[in-house]
């Protein structure tokens, strides 16, 4: 009896202790994570960042498959001739997609064009010719990007094709001319960097799956620090020529650290010379 009383007493004391210890933590609920700020007061986005997704293959949900370029086989699609030799190296990893709602609201004729793009991927995807990727595709190419941020400037350098974007913080008005990477005008909304991209030409795609846009594209990007090593990236896509309504995508950018935090050079122009100009050699390769 005494023993159980003692046990009970100990248990009560122990519980009280737990509550006592726990109480202060409850009083000050874990503070939301606050990103480090530069001396000028804006969140410090400096660093080397990269996605860990398969959006560059297809921004929509997709299962793994044998190749981007397929042709009909006796029992379903098989890799097309030009990519057959690549075997598993040429296969496509699966992904749950990055488009909110899992659907791109194409106008009917635009959807037909996307499907045609898919069927002619090898001839049409601008990535195959090492063309600048445009926005938002630059963000989720399977290469890192680096943000250089100071009080007066914010520059994004992309490893792929050596693309660069200078983010303007004073709106100069409409872009003087269309370009591959467009004109980027930024502002801060709290800890979120918001960048409006206009003036992009109609030659870039969203992915290898033929998803495309016109020169009426506007992209509003939102970069929000969500932890010491992560940024949430959102893009609002508006293009009344191609889509029936605006749509959004979102994904996570991860910080590369230590020795990995360095952009290498991927100036791929020289890698596509045989593809693009090989037929013009004095002695074309057999």
């Amino acid at each position: 009896m005494n023993r159980s009383l003692a046990k009970t007493a100990l248990a009560v004391l122990a519980l009280a202790g737990v509550l006592w210890n726990a109480a202060p933590a409850h009083a000050a609920a874990p503070a939301p994570w606050r990103p480090p700020h530069l001396p000028d007061g804006h969140p410090d986005l400096n660093g080397v960042w990269q996605v860990l997704n398969t959006a560059n293959f297809d921004i929509l949900p997709h299962m793994a498959k044998a190749a981007m370029a397929l042709r009909a086989g006796p029992n379903g699609p098989v890799p097309d001739k030009p990519v057959l030799a690549l075997g598993a190296v040429g296969a496509v990893p699966a992904g749950l997609g990055v488009v909110d709602g899992g659907e791109i609201p194409y106008k009917p004729e635009a959807l037909a064009k996307k499907q045609e793009n898919q069927a002619h991927w090898l001839e049409r995807d601008p990535e195959i010719k090492c063309y600048l990727p445009g926005v938002p595709r630059a963000t989720y190419m399977p290469y890192p990007l680096q943000i250089f941020q100071s009080r007066s400037a914010l520059l994004i350098a992309y490893e792929y094709a050596g693309g660069v974007r200078n983010i303007l913080f004073a709106d100069p008005g409409p872009a003087p001319v269309d370009s591959w990477m467009g004109q980027s005008v930024g502002h801060w909304e709290g800890d979120t960097l918001v960048v409006t991209v206009t003036g992009q030409n109609d030659s870039t795609w969203f992915d290898r799956a033929g998803d495309f846009h016109s020169d009426q594209l506007t992209v509003v990007e939102r970069y929000t620090p969500t932890g010491p090593g992560t940024l949430r990236y959102e893009a609002l896509i508006t293009d009344p020529e191609v889509f029936t309504r605006p749509w959004t995508m979102h994904m996570t950018l991860y910080r590369r650290v230590g020795e990995d935090a360095r952009l290498q050079q991927f100036k791929c122009v020289e890698f596509v010379e045989e593809l693009m100009y090989g037929n013009l050699r004095k002695e074309p390769l057999k």
């Binding site: 530069l38 001396p39 000028d40 400096n46 090492c130 063309y131 600048l132 680096q146 943000i147 250089f148 941020q149 100071s150 009080r151 007066s152 400037a153 914010l154 520059l155 350098a157 050596g162 693309g163 660069v164 200078n166 100069p172 003087p176 001319v177 370009s179 591959w180 990477m181 030659s203 360095r262 952009l263 290498q264 050079q265 100036k267 122009v269 020289e270 010379e273 045989e274 693009m276 100009y277 090989g278 013009l280 050699r281 004095k282 002695e283």
Partner: protein
Amino acid sequence: MTELTRVLSACGLVMALTAAAAQAPAQSPAAAAAPYHVPRTSFGDPDLQGLWTNASITTLERPAWLAKPVLTPEEAVKAEAQYKKWLSDNDKTADAPESEKGDPGGYNSFWLDPGTKFGVVRGEIRTSWIVDPPNGHIPYSAAGGRDAMATGMRQFRDFSGPEVRSLGERCIVGYGSTGGPPMLNVLYNNNYQIVQSPGYVVIVVEMNHDARIIRLGGQHPPDSIRPWMGDSVGHWEGDTLVVETTNLNPGQRFTADVRHRIYLAPNSKVTERFTRVSDHDILYEFKVEEPTAYTQTWRGEIPMHATKGPMYEYACHEGNYSLPGILAGARAEEKTAALAAAGGPK
């Protein structure tokens, strides 16, 4: 006082020629006392940020038509007028004489933007960027000169395939060492944007949208890593950014502008110094060291001036009609020659 005269008085280093010509009497050694205070970034580094240009009539090496290392303001005005005339005389019109129709020439002067003034460095109107050796020429050794000539001649004569054409025609990097190192002025698009962040200085070269990412501190990569524009590591010496570049790509060892040629031996070490000498001017110095290709270390000095944006996207490869045109032209010439050798088309 004009802004330019103020700059001249304040630092006595770099000024625009117009000021030199118009305000020369105002130049007094007594006024050079107040040193220029280089602004700082929010993280404490000397602030070099902004858009800069090195457009100028002055070239890497001293051209034959300018015998003197330094011009008087009167000589400069005369030479600048002569240069302007040459540019416009170069223009060919659609109704050119029959004798010139086979040769379309280069760009009309409308498309060129080489600058209209000689560069002024340390108060001198310079006729070459190279100051050492004093003759204003790259001091090639016999071996360096041979490789420079052989590499250059191949680019001028060999049209057998894309890889033997110049880096500019291939859209791999801008021509004439516009991206450097050393960063040299060419016939157009002589614009640079400098952006700094903690631990980095980035120079975006307009041609071809190349970001030279300079790490402040650290080591160069193994010898097998040889990027275009080399590998650059920087540090601050007082207010001066010092950048050492090694690991140069052998494919970049010869490059030419209409006005200069530069052979950069692949094992060269290039040291650049960026000193902001006024709100509107950076003094850019460089030296090239390589014991086999040159008989001595050679050095140059180039003024960079603040300029206005926007800096446009130079998407070279995406619109490269030239390279397939050049190769197809060579194939057409070979076909014509073969037909002629076989008796000619009837």
